[in-house]
């Protein structure tokens, strides 16, 4: 009986080892694919970084008003671009390596991933554009409100920033097909909440200002003009 047990153990050991041995080329292929894609990513990243620096990309992006202030992030637009491109290449290498394991199983996975890729790209683009727009418009609101001597300028600016960010987040999640109706409803509640908060804050804080402005527009009150200072 011990012979039979020993034989069964031998066979199972052999089967496991054979299975492991059959997986080894796949592992090796995955490692090689990752290594090669990392090397390509590094080389392309190096060239891209130098090209973007020679084009003064960081300053141009700053000039478009799409960046935050110094200290808000420790990475420059060049760093971000290089990182995104490099990691995309490594990811493609990973997919190539995974395909080497089991052609039928992994090809299904890869085809599903590729079908999902446009959604992912669209969501990333929406997030990037939304983030930049949030920064640009919140800064515009902040400067405009300060110039009008509005004491709650910072609050207005933050409100504008979060309005755009919430809208952007909801749009990105929609593209990713995550959450379904919950996202729409959560967005409606959050967006409405921010608008209501701002309306209350501005309405209560600037009741007199708004009523004076409305009265002036209705022609009931003369415009407050002064000739003391002539700037032009």
């Amino acid at each position: 009986m011990w012979e039979q047990v020993s034989q069964a153990l031998d066979q199972s050991f052999t089967r496991v080892m054979t299975r492991i041995a059959s997986l080894l080329p796949g592992f090796l292929a995955l490692l090689v694919a990752l290594l090669v894609s990392s090397l390509i990513a590094w080389a392309i990243g190096f060239v891209l970084r130098r090209s973007l620096r020679s084009l003064d990309f960081d300053r141009k992006v700053a000039g478009w008003g799409l960046l935050g202030f110094r200290g808000e992030t420790d990475r420059s637009p060049t760093d971000w671009t290089v990182r995104i491109v490099s990691w995309s290449i490594v990811f493609v290498g990973f997919l190539v390596g995974v395909t080497a394991f089991e052609a039928t199983l992994t090809s299904l996975l890869v085809s599903q991933l590729f079908a999902y890729l446009p959604n992912l790209v669209a969501a990333v683009v929406v997030l990037l554009v939304g983030g930049a727009a949030a920064r640009f418009f919140s800064r515009s609101v902040l400067i405009g409100a300060v110039n009008l001597n509005v004491q709650y300028a910072h609050l207005l600016s933050i409100g504008m920033k979060w309005l755009i960010l919430v809208l952007t987040g909801a749009m990105a999640l929609n593209h990713l097909e995550i959450g379904g109706k919950i996202v729409d409803e959560a967005f409606a509640i959050l967006f409405g909440g921010i608008v209501l908060t701002l309306a209350l804050a501005v309405g209560l804080g600037a009741r007199d200002l708004v009523s004076r402005s409305l009265e002036r527009q209705a022609g009931r009150m003369p415009e407050e003009t002064t000739e003391t200072f002539r700037h032009f």
Partner: protein
């Protein structure tokens, strides 16, 4: 004929039928007949005068001025000097083209309200061109302690320090031109591919080495026509001033000191109203609010030493609120540098300068509260000298923006 010709065929035919005219007076802001009630054949004895007015206004009938010497022309909107959404502009292009077509010796473009002009004033503006060979004539409007503050605080002293000419109103939109300057302004600038008249005419003439002069006029500084939004107009004017620094770098980096510009006539003096303390308070509050909220944007443009100076200002009581000339000049120069470097969006940058400008105005108004007109002139002279003495600072930071950052 110039490459930028924009006159319609009908106007060209009318000009051909007129033939030649010695003097062309252009009134782009003309709207109603009352605007030209002062026109008469009495001025400019012995010279043919042609008046050009835009077709957007009323049609003039024969009156004191001969109707055959009146030309209506359509204004092309893009050709606006100091163009901007708020209506701070001057329109030169068509009038200069008419002046060139009739081979005029002198041409006056009166962009501000025509009701403020008269035949005598226009003749005063053009006599230096006709009799003494000047190419460009600037007006000097009535002096007032609290008038034309953007000009007094930035444009006039900065132009003087950088371009070396003491011109009172370098950005005036009422100007007198010689025929040679008209020809030059109608050429297309090879660098910008735009007509030169759309650029800043004062620096164009100075950098070309053309003789310029100024004439004292008995009238207030014209106001911007459509808007009173200080921030928007400041953005347009400073944007043009700073953009011009980039265009003329090679000229202003070589020039040093400044010289008087020949001046004819004496400008009047406008009495200021009493300063309302509430207005001063509001300006200082705007500055303090700006320091609390815009310090990050200012930090992009200003050096740490300048920021420390501004921080000290925020702690001062209203009665002691004074901004030193050197501090103000560094603020202006730092913003000019940040504008050049495109450190952040240019419109954001220039709009963020408004609270700083208001701080200067408040400080200046407090200082000038009981000052005489002589004190006021001396005060502006001191400011202009501060701009000149700080020019090496601008020069160093312009050449080595990263290395020289005190």
């Amino acid at each position: 004929m110039p490459e930028t010709e924009s006159l319609p065929q009908q106007v060209k035919e009318q000009i051909e039928s007129i033939g030649r005219a010695d003097v062309v007076i252009g009134l782009p802001s003309f709207r109603t007949r009352e605007d030209l009630s002062w026109a008469s054949a009495d001025g400019f004895v012995g010279l043919n005068v042609l008046i050009a007015y835009p077709s957007s206004g009323e049609v003039l009938e024969a009156g004191a001025f001969p109707s055959e010497h009146l030309v209506r022309y359509p204004i092309s909107a893009p050709e606006r000097y100091l163009s901007g959404p708020t209506g701070v502009y001057g329109t030169f292009q068509e009038i200069l083209q008419i002046g060139q077509r009739v081979e005029s010796k002198a041409c006056c473009v009166w962009n501000s309200n025509p009701q403020g002009a008269s035949m005598e004033i226009i003749e005063q503006m053009l006599r230096p061109v006709l009799d003494q060979g000047f190419d460009l004539v600037f007006p000097i409007y009535k002096e007032a302690k609290l008038g034309a503050l953007v000009n007094s605080s930035i444009i006039c002293p900065m132009t003087r320090a950088l371009y070396g000419k003491q011109i009172h109103f370098p950005m005036a939109i009422d100007l007198g031109f010689s025929s040679s300057l008209v020809d030059r302004l109608l050429e297309t600038d090879p660098r910008t591919r735009q007509p030169r008249s759309a650029q800043w005419i004062a620096t164009e003439a100075i950098c070309t080495g053309l003789p310029v002069c100024q004439v004292g006029l008995p009238m207030d500084t014209p106001r911007p026509p459509d808007s009173t939004d200080l921030s928007s107009i400041l953005t347009i004017i400073l944007g043009r001033l700073f953009a011009d620094l980039e265009r003329n770098t090679s000229y202003w980096q070589r020039s040093s000191g400044s010289e008087l510009v020949p001046t004819f006539g004496t400008p009047g003096i406008r009495e200021d109203d009493a300063i309302a303390p509430a207005e001063l308070q509001r300006m200082i509050e705007t500055f303090q609010l700006g320091y609390r909220n815009l310090a990050e944007i200012w930090g992009v443009a200003l050096t740490p030493a300048t920021l420390v100076g501004l921080k000290r200002l925020t702690n001062l009581a209203v009665s002691q609120f004074r901004m030193a000339d050197d501090l103000w000049v560094r603020v202006v120069y730092d913003f000019a540098l940040a504008h050049r470097q495109r450190a952040i969006n240019r419109e954001h940058l220039l709009r963020a300068m408004t609270p700083l400008y208001l701080a200067w105005v408040a400080s200046y108004a407090l200082e000038m509260k009981d000052a005489s007109i002589t004190d006021f002139q001396n005060r502006l002279e001191r400011l202009a000298l501060a701009y000149e003495s700080q020019k090496p600072y601008l020069l160093s930071r312009w050449r080595w923006p990263d290395r020289f950052n005190p």
